[in-house]
């Protein structure tokens, strides 16, 4: 239980620091909206065929803005050797991973809560599917790539070019989750009558989430070793 309590302390520290500095979250938000704007230039929002792109767009916007936040997650700890302090502190290293994960997860959910309605608005999309299913899909998918993303961000932070390295590490590893979650979102938004197929995809992504979250927890100890 103390693992979880320490994790929440670390997550709280990150979120409080973010509330004071207001650097990462606004950047992520503006970036997400900019991606949507660029897309509306690239694909005519008035055309009916563009509506078919919206499920994919949701995830492109989410992942691209998530990358920004994930990058900062461990790099911000390099200043004043904070990360050494965290390693030496009498907490289980799993708490550090979970704490970083919670903080990233909350920030990305906030970005999605604003960017996805904005996307529907700017592309004049009338959502009439099942809202609980959509929320469940977004939650499952985001959980998957933020989990592995926080982990890979810790690996990348050791490099001098971590901002460039992280997408290269994350995209190939997150591929199964992306395939599953885009397919599920497509079914929910465009074919609400075939919801049981979306359930199958969600099971795949759920399996991915569990497997990789488990691996991250087991292996995180090795990343932080001094």
């Amino acid at each position: 239980m103390s693992i979880l309590r320490n994790a929440l302390t670390i997550a709280g520290k990150d979120l409080r620091a973010e509330r004071k500095s207001k650097q990462v979250l606004p950047t992520m938000l503006v970036f997400a909206v900019l991606v949507i704007v660029v897309f509306s230039f690239a694909f005519d929002p008035d055309k009916e065929s563009t509506k078919a792109l919206i499920p994919g767009l949701i995830w492109i916007v989410s992942i691209f803005s998530a990358i920004l936040g994930l990058n900062r997650s461990f790099i911000s700890e390099l200043k004043n050797d904070n990360i050494q302090g965290m390693i030496i502190a009498p907490v289980n290293s799993i708490s550090i991973f979970l704490g970083k994960f919670f903080a990233n997860f909350v920030m990305i959910l906030i970005v999605q809560a604003i960017a996805i309605p904005m996307l529907f608005l700017l592309f004049d999309y009338q959502f009439n599917g099942s809202l609980p299913w959509l929320l469940l899909t977004i939650f499952t998918g985001t959980f998957g790539f933020v989990g592995i993303g926080s982990f890979l961000s810790a690996i990348a932070s050791n490099s001098g070019i971590s901002e460039m390295l992280l997408p290269l590490l994350l995209f190939p590893i997150a591929t199964p989750a992306l395939i599953g979650i885009v397919s599920a979102t497509k079914i929910i938004l465009r074919h609400p009558d075939q919801i049981e197929k979306a359930y199958g995809w969600l099971q795949l992504v759920g399996g991915y989430d569990i497997i990789f979250f488990g691996i991250c927890i087991v292996l995180f100890d090795y990343i932080l070793e001094v």
Partner: protein, 245 residues
């Protein structure tokens, strides 16, 4: 030698002399590649519909299997490294990954050439292709971590962790993309599979094994080179220490 003591503790034997085993491994690999070239180009039949182009398939499948096998070596050595912290496993993982990159590049080059003549497209988003492409990107990412700056043990740890995650990811990618949509790749050997005649199957199986031996020989050679490089670094450090820098 005394100043290698630290390395010996880490399970690294810095003896890089050519032994009989080396010669045997290289000899077998060389002979098998020659025989498989004979089997591919002269012994096996020319496929009816695709013609001589189909012969690229033997090399394609041979390298594809071994690219995956090389990453399997990376995976096993990564686990062993994290468990034992012996440098020799890191050396093996480094070398296997380097050779795997070469093999997967051959796969990615031969694949489209064959696909163009067999399916009339250069590329198709089909499970085996998608997984091969993702494996290629995972290899690239692994190599990027390998070329990071920092001490060898830090890189070894991070590479080992990524090697494990990457290898576990590949079958999941395959499963996900198979569900996503399967179109072209035939199941050639097995019960429902059709298109291969007896001598073609033999040539294929032999080529796969020939490439496996070739992979083994290359890993063997690579490990010796890597050991020589480490030894050289030690000597440089020693000299730098002697002249007081």
């Amino acid at each position: 030698m005394s100043f290698f003591k630290n390395e010996e503790e880490l399970g690294l034997n810095l003896n890089t002399r050519t032994t009989l085993v080396n010669h045997i491994v290289y000899g077998i690999a060389f002979a098998m590649i020659l025989v498989s070239a004979y089997l591919i180009f002269i012994y096996s039949n020319i496929e009816k519909t695709m013609g001589a182009v189909q012969k690229i398939f033997y090399v394609h499948v041979g390298t594809a299997w071994n690219a995956l096998l090389a990453f399997g070596v990376v995976f096993v050595c990564s686990i062993l490294y994290l468990a034992t912290k012996k440098r020799i496993y890191d050396v093996y993982a480094t070398v296997a990954a380097e050779i795997g990159v070469v093999f997967i590049i051959i796969v990615m080059l031969t694949g489209p050439i064959w696909a163009r003549s067999a399916w009339n497209v250069w590329w198709s988003w089909e499970p085996k292709l998608t997984s091969a492409l993702i494996l290629f990107f995972i290899y690239i990412a692994y190599t990027m971590i390998r070329f990071m700056d920092g001490s060898w043990d830090k890189k070894a740890r991070l590479c080992a962790v990524f090697g494990i995650i990457g290898f576990i990811d590949v079958p999941i990618v395959y499963f996900a993309s198979e569900w996503w949509g399967s179109k072209f790749h035939p199941t050639v050997v097995g019960q429902e599979g059709g298109g291969l005649e007896g001598n073609m199957v033999f040539a294929l199986v032999f080529t796969v094994f020939a490439f496996s031996f070739f992979l083994t020989a290359l890993i063997h050679k690579g490990v010796r080179i890597e050991k020589a490089r480490i030894e050289l670094q030690h000597m440089k450090d020693k000299i730098a220490e002697k002249i007081g820098r």
